[in-house]
Subunit: 104 residues, 2 copies
């Protein structure tokens, strides 16, 4: 079983890479399909696929299949969860209001 530290680290890995931040920046203006992201970032197709997998698994981005195209967008729920996690991680205990770490 993985520690919650490793699990939480995975959420923030979404924001730890230059290309993934570029993807998020591009998605701020709305849903984009993979082909557009490849052009925007000037990145290889398999590299984009690799980064999108990390972003989707972190919960911050959601994917929508439509025919052979995949459309990606920022997930408000996933973003909110990342925000909440960051808030919790950096909030001193006496000032803490509630917790979402490891189901505690």
């Amino acid at each position: 079983m993985e520690s919650c530290y490793i699990q939480n680290a995975k959420v923030f890995k979404a924001f730890c890479d230059e290309n993934r931040l570029k993807v998020l920046e591009s998605l701020r203006s709305g849903e984009k399909c993979a082909c557009v992201l490849i052009e925007d970032l000037a990145i290889g197709q398999s590299a984009l696929s690799y980064h999108m997998k990390i972003l989707v698994e972190s919960g911050v981005v959601s994917a929508r299949q439509e025919g052979k195209w995949t459309h990606y967008s920022i997930s408000p729920a996933g973003s909110a969860r990342a925000m909440e996690l960051l808030r919790e991680i950096t909030t001193p205990l006496e000032a803490q209001e509630d917790s979402i770490c490891c189901g505690r």
Copy 2:
């Protein structure tokens, strides 16, 4: 010159590693000196030093020298900056016309 994507990625690297999340968790209960963190995490001295450097440079942790000891604590200002950055990165821009994507 470094892109702002690379700079922003560095802030979130603070939260991308199991041991750094453990350090932050330990610091939530208050300022700790390095010797205590080494015991808490069961980590080598040089490994802790390596991680503390990353945490301090990200701005999320601040260091206070007192004699030969260094005391670390969560920086409220640095944490607030990280929160604000995360919020900005994941907030969609004003809704725009649907863009034409993949011939649609």
